[in-house]
């Protein structure tokens, strides 16, 4: 087991962080969130083409980096730290993973292979047309049906990243279809998370191409496991920003960070974040091994994901909430970027399985059976 970061990972982190420091400052993110196009397409292009994050999980044979969940997790930490409005989680993690798993057993058809290559090159952005609130542990509702003429019809609510996507990957039962975003109607909703809004995707006779099998539990659990690293990044930013604030802010002629009640709360939060780091790293590490389904290793990775998602979700929310409180009135203002993190943290808590859903999964995964 290694829960540390490798040198390669630290280099990847540094290049992402440098770019974000330059191109994705909180005030810019806030301005963009107020605009009609919340996603930063230019930043995403640069991240994809110069740093290659879009193809991180794509095998080298398709032009990707052939990296693992560990590296993707490090990118997510940095994107979380910046609440960066780019479709990395939705395209480069969820959609890419769905595509990779779709081809594991039967091999991808040409349309799938081409798409992987386009994703890796950063030419195309995809989204998995599944509710962001879907849990790995519950069967997906079957909102989309295959018409007799081979087109797709149905409505999927709360899809993240759809408005940034060129291609939608649409589950129909246990099959995954590829649909051009232009053939779907995508209505962005006012969203709690300003930097990753959700949309209603409506398909009415949209042409779709089958690209393979779809196993919702595996794909969503993979996404949930990696989302914990983004939550870690969100929590770390909130913790660091709040620490800086309480060191500076004086009331009663003392920095408010010198008051013991506040110090003790910060110490507890820091411990929570330190444990979130270990949990997120553990999930990424075990997912990186891509264990065969049904093996002991796969169960261990599932348990690690459930542990990390339930813990990191609540820690990110707690740190963001405490951050607002300790910023006092300032934390309640729109102009301070803290609320972008609070909203991301709160929405991510629900995303890909709530903390309660992941704890529930441990009933089976950790052999702690529910009452009869």
């Amino acid at each position: 087991m290694t829960l540390l970061y490798t040198e390669v990972e630290e280099e990847l982190r540094a290049s992402v962080r440098d770019l974000l420091a330059d191109r994705c400052r909180p005030d810019a993110v806030l301005r963009r969130a107020e605009s009609a196009s919340p996603y930063d397409a230019d930043l995403w292009k640069t991240l994809s083409r110069e740093i290659g994050v879009a193809g991180l999980l794509v095998p080298e044979e398709y032009g990707g980096a052939g990296a693992s969940a560990r590296e993707a997790a490090v990118v997510l930490e940095e994107l979380g730290r910046a609440v960066a409005p780019v479709p990395f989680l939705t395209s480069a993690v969820l959609a890419t993973e769905a595509l990779l798993q779709a081809g594991v057993h039967e091999g991808l058809p040409a349309g799938g292979r081409d798409l992987l290559a386009e994703l890796a090159a950063g030419e195309t952005t995809a989204a998995l047309a599944v509710s962001l609130a879907a849990s790995p542990y519950r069967p997906l509702p079957p909102p989309v049906t295959l018409n007799d003429d081979g087109t797709l019809g149905g409505e999927i609510r709360a899809v993240a990243g759809a408005d940034a996507a060129d291609v939608l990957l649409v589950p129909v039962g246990t099959a995954l279809y590829r649909v051009r975003a232009g053939d779907a109607r995508i209505d962005v909703l006012p969203s709690l998370d300003l930097t990753r809004p959700i949309a209603v995707v409506t398909l009415s006779g949209a042409p779709g191409e089958r690209v393979g099998a779809f196993d919702a539990r595996r794909v969503l659990a993979f996404g949930a496991g990696l989302l914990t690293s983004e939550q870690l990044g969100v929590a770390e930013w909130c913790l660091a920003t709040t620490l800086a604030h309480i060191r500076e802010r004086h009331q009663f002629a003392r920095p408010i960070g010198s008051f013991q009640a506040i110090k003790h709360r910060m110490a507890d939060l820091w411990l929570d974040v330190a444990r979130a780091r270990a949990a997120a790293r553990n999930a990424a590490n075990l997912l990186a091994a891509r264990p065969e389904p049904g093996t002991e290793a796969a169960l261990e990775a599932e348990a690690a994901t459930a542990v990390a998602k339930s813990w990191c979700s609540e820690v990110a929310v707690r740190v963001a909430e405490e951050g607002v409180q300790l910023h006092g009135g300032t934390g309640m203002t729109w102009e301070h970027p803290l609320h972008l993190y609070l909203k991301r943290a709160k929405a991510s808590e629900t995303a890909l399985g709530t903390p309660g859903a992941h704890r529930d999964a441990l009933s089976a995964l950790a052999d702690l059976p529910a009452p009869i």
């Binding site: 609320h339 909203k343 309660g356 859903a357």
Partner: protein, 390 residues
């Protein structure tokens, strides 16, 4: 000789017989002039010099007639009026109290500053004397209703060379004076309930000073004590208030239920109920003439309950919880926990532990004033304000 209940009732009955409630402003003006605004205020200032508790008699008799607006007039009625009564000159009382009460002039409060929140006495807005005038410069924040207000109650620093509590003076600020700029302050909910107020070379005649020069902290304490009394309350009915909102969703949406959410909902039901009962007990104590120290502390509980319940509400709704009803930037005059969506409630409730005394300050107050625990070492007691670290 003070009036008794019967005499007050007679006045109210006689007043009602002689005036037309259809003319709102005229009716309220006449009610003030009849001494039925605040019966415990002196005659000529909206009152009859009667015992305070007889106000209820007036309210019963005049129920259903035009009333002052408890929303826009909250600061005028709740904070400015008692302060003007306690510290104003007779001229000031005569000038301000009548239109304050009728609502013809709206008041706001210029106390908090970006650098002075919990530690209000450290405020930096300066008032410098210039002949018969004061020149005021500074920035105030969290001012509700400033854009409607004709007047403000204002605390400013008139002597930076003495310890912070001693160098303050209390003014009535003319919100129409040149140099007063009001900007809406957008909150994390998307709305602006409050304003920032920038004061740049605002000239106020000395006749707008309330209380003595340097006595501003004592005057402000009167104002703030009246703020504290206004807070508290909470739902009276079992299962009412914020828990009721969540419980209704729970009851009507069985598909959302999980055991995890159920346990948390049950625990919050219990906490809501014991908090409601503590509030009810406090009201019984007050009614029995045994005011308890629970008052300021109840706000702590309501804040944390509102936050926990609204957070659970967002999570409970799953997919729907990812939506937000409306991010439009607009002014709002009040907190709307019941008309808005769960996302709004979640975000707005965050302010409950900050506004009107942070939970940190309230815990200090409970610990020191109720539990008798010693205060912490103070480093700012005897230091001139200008030398304090900031």
């Amino acid at each position: 000789m003070t009036l008794d209940e019967e005499a007050v009732r007679e006045r109210a009955v006689a007043f009602l017989a002689g005036h037309d409630p259809g003319d709102r402003t005229g009716f309220l003006r006449a009610r003030f002039d009849a001494g039925l605004a605040w019966v415990h205020f002196p005659e000529g200032l909206g009152g009859l010099g009667a015992p305070r508790e007889l106000q209820n008699v007036v309210e019963r008799e005049l129920a259903g007639t035009p009333q002052p607006d408890p929303g826009t007039q909250a600061i005028g009625l709740g904070m400015a009026a008692p302060t003007i009564l306690a510290f104003g000159t007779r001229e000031q009382q005569e000038r301000f109290l009548r239109p304050l009460w009728t609502g013809e002039e709206i008041w706001c409060q210029l106390f908090s500053e970006p650098g002075a929140g919990s530690d209000l006495a450290t405020l930096a807005t300066r008032a410098v004397r210039d002949g018969d005038e004061w020149v005021v410069d500074g920035q105030k924040v969290w001012t509700s209703g400033a854009h409607h207000a004709r007047w403000a109650i204002l605390v400013a620093r008139t002597d930076p060379g003495v310890p912070k509590h001693r160098g303050l003076t209390y003014f009535v600020c003319d919100m129409h004076a040149p140099g007063v700029e009001v900007r809406p302050l957008r909150q994390i909910t998307g709305e602006a309930e409050f304003n920032e107020v920038f004061l740049t070379g605002v000239r106020l005649p000395d006749s707008l000073r309330l209380g003595a020069v340097g006595d501003g902290w004592r005057v402000a304490t009167t104002t703030l004590m009246n703020e504290r009394v206004a807070i508290g309350g909470g739902p009276v009915r079992r299962g009412g208030g914020m828990i009721g909102l969540v419980a209704d969703t729970w009851r009507s949406r069985p598909e959302l239920r999980t055991h995890d959410l159920h346990r948390r909902l049950l625990a919050l039901w219990v906490e809501s109920e014991v908090t409601r009962l503590a509030g009810a007990r406090l009201r019984e104590q007050l009614a029995a003439g045994q005011p308890g120290p629970e008052g300021s502390a109840m706000k702590l509980s309501f804040a944390s309950l509102n936050q926990a319940l609204s957070a659970l509400d967002v999570e409970l709704r799953g997919e729907e919880g990812l939506e937000y009803d409306d991010w439009t930037f607009r002014r709002s005059e009040s907190v709307d926990f019941f008309g808005r969506g769960p996302g709004y409630r979640y975000l707005r409730a965050k302010g409950n532990s900050i506004e009107g005394g942070t939970s940190e300050i309230l815990r200090n107050i409970v610990a020191e004033r109720v539990l008798g625990l010693p205060s912490e070492p103070r480093v700012d007691k005897d230091v001139p304000w200008k030398d304090l670290p900031r």
